[in-house]
Symmetry: C2
Subunit: 341 residues, 2 copies
């Protein structure tokens, strides 16, 4: 049994205080990150330069008493490696050429992913030796539907057009998701080969899906993804985070084969515990807005989250990523409030 606190919880143990990490803990809210980032030509170049990506991962660990490091990368490296051009518009977000109006498209073979994304695995490899041995190294990828939505509409935001695409071109959607399942499985397996000790699947756009479409575009592909990962030899724990799944969270927890469940801000711990398989580790779910507000509201909110999840193996985290306008001092205060330091 591992001594690492995050892995112990993922193996089903309850720890007091819970281990802590923060979604987007390496990022724009840190001045040293903004400085580092300014040295790269583009955001993808930054992700593909191991020295820079490693440094970004290590920055928050020098400031805060966190229990895990997470690879610095982006969910859109997968479509990029599949041959769909990806670029980032400053202050707006990612752009791709949308599949929405394309009659057909061709992607690079998913088997070529590990070669195409070699710099990402080099980053993981370097991190493995750079990290304090108590810390767990987390790899990640976007969920198939979430990545598909960016590919279909060419950007983030409103998912209405993606649902129409799903209704109008179900066979094309299935083919796209199948390619993403295989590519994502290989991408995650390569991270594990390079040293990732657990994985998170960010299904960030799980909201607003009628149940039949949730089944087709989220449940079935995720189940195939987890099974394929196991076939490829990756045996580490997998945290599934279907943000906004709402009433459908239980189906995700029970049917996809994930080891642990990320819980969003809106979903009460008691609901997640009731819906998930007995004893499933839960991760979450402080409102990131409290981390901007700070002070007593933050400390009370943090303690309420710890209390609410006390009956489950629990990894403390936010219910959504930390925002750029957060003060690093507030994150220090949060970690102290959780760990009682």
């Amino acid at each position: 049994m591992s001594e690492k606190r995050l892995l112990r919880v993922l193996a089903g143990e309850r720890l007091d205080p819970p281990p802590v990490w923060i979604m987007r803990q390496a990022g724009r809210y840190l001045p040293e990150y903004r400085e580092l980032r300014a040295g790269a030509k583009s955001f993808l170049d930054f992700c593909y330069t191991p020295a820079m990506a490693c440094e970004a991962v290590l920055q928050p660990l020098r400031r805060f008493d966190l229990d895990a490091a997470i690879l610095f990368s982006d969910i859109l490296v997968v479509p990029d490696a599949l041959g769909r051009k990806v670029w980032f518009v400053e202050g707006e977000g990612p752009r791709l050429e949308p599949l929405l109006e394309a009659e057909t498209w061709s992607l690079e073979p998913p088997e070529s992913i590990p070669q195409r994304l070699a710099p990402v695995y080099e980053t993981v490899n370097r991190l493995r030796s750079a990290l304090d041995p108590d810390l767990t190294l987390i790899g990640f990828a976007g969920g198939p539907w979430t990545v598909a939505t960016y590919m279909i509409q060419g950007q983030g935001g409103d998912k209405d057009r993606c649902r129409r695409f799903a209704y109008q071109r179900p066979a094309d959607l299935d083919a796209l998701l199948a390619d993403l399942v295989e590519a994502t499985a290989r991408h995650l397996a390569a991270q594990v080969d390079a040293g990732a000790e657990c994985l998170q699947i960010f299904e960030s756009w799980s909201e607003g899906m009628p149940e039949p479409l949730f089944q087709r575009a989220i449940l079935d592909p995720t189940k195939r993804l987890v099974a394929r990962l196991r076939e490829l030899g990756a045996q580490v724990p997998v945290i599934g985070f279907p943000r906004g799944a709402g009433a459908l969270l239980g189906r995700y927890a029970r049917e996809t084969g994930v080891t642990a469940l990320g819980v969003d801000t809106q979903t009460p711990a008691a609901f997640a515990r009731r819906e998930a398989p007995e004893g499933m580790p839960l991760q979450g779910n402080l409102d990131p807005q409290l981390l901007i507000v700070g002070g007593k509201a933050l400390e009370d909110g943090a303690r309420a989250v710890v209390e609410a999840f006390r009956c489950s193996p629990h990894i403390f985290n936010l219910g959504h990523g930390i925002t750029p306008q957060t003060s690093p001092e507030h994150l220090s205060a949060l970690v102290k409030a959780v760990k009682g330091g």
Copy 2:
């Protein structure tokens, strides 16, 4: 017992086929609506002109075999009547002067609402006599939190700032919600006095709220609103529609005192039935995107909704408002698919 099909279902009866109405059934997807609207100086003028508002309500009833008419108005007439200037930016949506940075504010007394919104009740009154006697006339208002979010941030969209306001200024939030509860109760009671036979509360921004804030800003004010309505003598059924409530839908259904529950696109009928009090009428929940797509996908989707809600008293509707790009022919096909005509 009423003969009106919608009211029979709201009284707990199951009807086959279910009664049908469509959120935003009077609106921009109809060419005759766009023509009518072009004759008004502003959107609020349109809402405050009984002849125009009546005509907008009647337009869809001439085309489609619907079971209800809903008042044509806007949820922001309440802040307008409370003295907060409201205007609509073409193609963008409503704007108000935000309370976000205001140290203090003063509102007109909620008791003055029935006098200030007299043209709205005149519209209801005219509709009562203009409507086919088989049709039910629905009045409505925004839920207190939803209206508060527009007042706080001065527009729709991202609710992060509203949650920060709630954390930073809880007493100001409570005061604002208390005023909105009283004003909304009076507004809804005046609609009933003028002839509305049931009411819907649109709590359109229920998503993304941590449970303690959902309790404070949605559950408690809605409970007070329904109780206050009853005190004011309005005894008609109330449909509560907390869109995006997800895991918290059951608490809304059980704790607020609403008669019936609007179910959004994402929430399965079986989940709503399990979470709501035994026998509570449910309304919903076809994906509005299917109504744009049309064809077999629409018909199959409509039949699946009817089937899924068969074990509850059910009012067929969308899970969200009809969108402007919908073809009226698709709505005809939908009503036929539901009613087997």
